[in-house]
Symmetry: C2
Subunit: 235 residues, 2 copies
Amino acid sequence: MSTIFIPKHIHPTYSNTVFNDCLLFHDMTPHELDRLENYAEQSKCEEGEYLFRQDTPADFVYNVISGSVAIERIFTNGRRQIIGFLFPGDFIGLTHSPNYDCAVRCLTKVEFYKFSRKRLNTLSEEVGHLKQNMEQIKSAIFSRVMEQLYVLGQKKALERLCFLFMQLLERLPGARADRVELYMSRQDMADYLGLTIETVSRCLAKLKSDGLVAFPKLNHLQILNLPAVSELAEC
Amino acid sequence: MSTIFIPKHIHPTYSNTVFNDCLLFHDMTPHELDRLENYAEQSKCEEGEYLFRQDTPADFVYNVISGSVAIERIFTNGRRQIIGFLFPGDFIGLTHSPNYDCAVRCLTKVEFYKFSRKRLNTLSEEVGHLKQNMEQIKSAIFSRVMEQLYVLGQKKALERLCFLFMQLLERLPGARADRVELYMSRQDMADYLGLTIETVSRCLAKLKSDGLVAFPKLNHLQILNLPAVSELAEC
DNA sequence: CGTTACGTTGATGATATTCAAGGACTGTGG
DNA sequence: CCACAGTCCTTGAATATCATCAACGTAACG
């Protein structure tokens, strides 16, 4: 049954081919999906655990079914840079190098499909659609990283936070302006945006006091003034 | 004659497979190189000209023979982020998207090979080595961008400049600690490192007064205290 | 010799970091 | 149910860092 391979999280309501990576399955015939299915193994991981660590063999490719993860890089001096957050539908580990160059930490309990990278590559040689789609996903990832480069290089703390909010709103399946779940800690936001945790906290307070956002709960964001937040986030 | 395809700039003295992208030609047989040769066209471009602009059709892949270029992205607000600098041996335009997502400006007069991307892709389907090499180059590029992310996110102005210096020293063919040619303007450095031109200028003055570097000419850098500069640049 | 583009330097203010203290939430054991 | 510890978050004050605005040098070129 190839339908197993169109998981709920890529249902049209969620499917945003620009921001989520579900398009691995795009345009594939039922037969092709069947073959892909044989390569997958479903599994899960608890909050705080690592799917994999930096510099370990890059043997698998993951597709998030539910939950959120952070992609992080640790440097020799011990400082950490978070490269991005991934959500249901996103792919992880589509690297070409023999080892992962990032670690992947679960922000929540995470369910995922796990593919042998070797076999996926073999299959992609035979199934044109798959290959195309993998390339496009890599393209999208690269494009996101370049956007982040700009944000870190040019934007102020308040704007960076708004950028994160807009990104979450666009990429989190089921997120709406009045309900965006922040699965990451303040420290995670700081490490993603190149700020300190105190600056993040202060900026959240400022955005709140200016009436742009609200926090009914600590990690439950409401965007009250979407045009303003979007304006600040603008690239 | 396939030897045309082992241009001078990838002669062993220069060839650094980690930092330069010459490895497109790695492990290829003379016959394969012959075929590649048929796909190439040699050309040049003057200082200040653009090889191509952002959002134009990505029809070609370029390989720099001599000179330096800057990869830049312009955003809606008019601000510019330089993604990187490329030098002899480096490849440009290895994107998968239909349009270039960056512009490429020549910092000097630039000689290059120009390949039809379509034909290069076709060839890479048949020539395993070529395909492998292209993937590895993309990997290296991605890895550089992630390093830059870290620099912009976590490092101070002085450290960013040292990072640039070390990068130039490693990637510029023929560069030595006592002779690194800075082909870019102060503004280019600023846009690369996420700083203003004034901050760049002040930091250069500080590094100079601290005896870490010298500038016999405005764009001719000497690294006097390599361990110290390297230490500051450290990731 | 003047113009122009690019680079430097100074004074000032904005922005973010650091260090330190105090709250808020969670889970555990009494 | 409460007390307690531990973790995460917030807030304040002092400081460091960088950006901005403005003036001044300098090198290249007609």
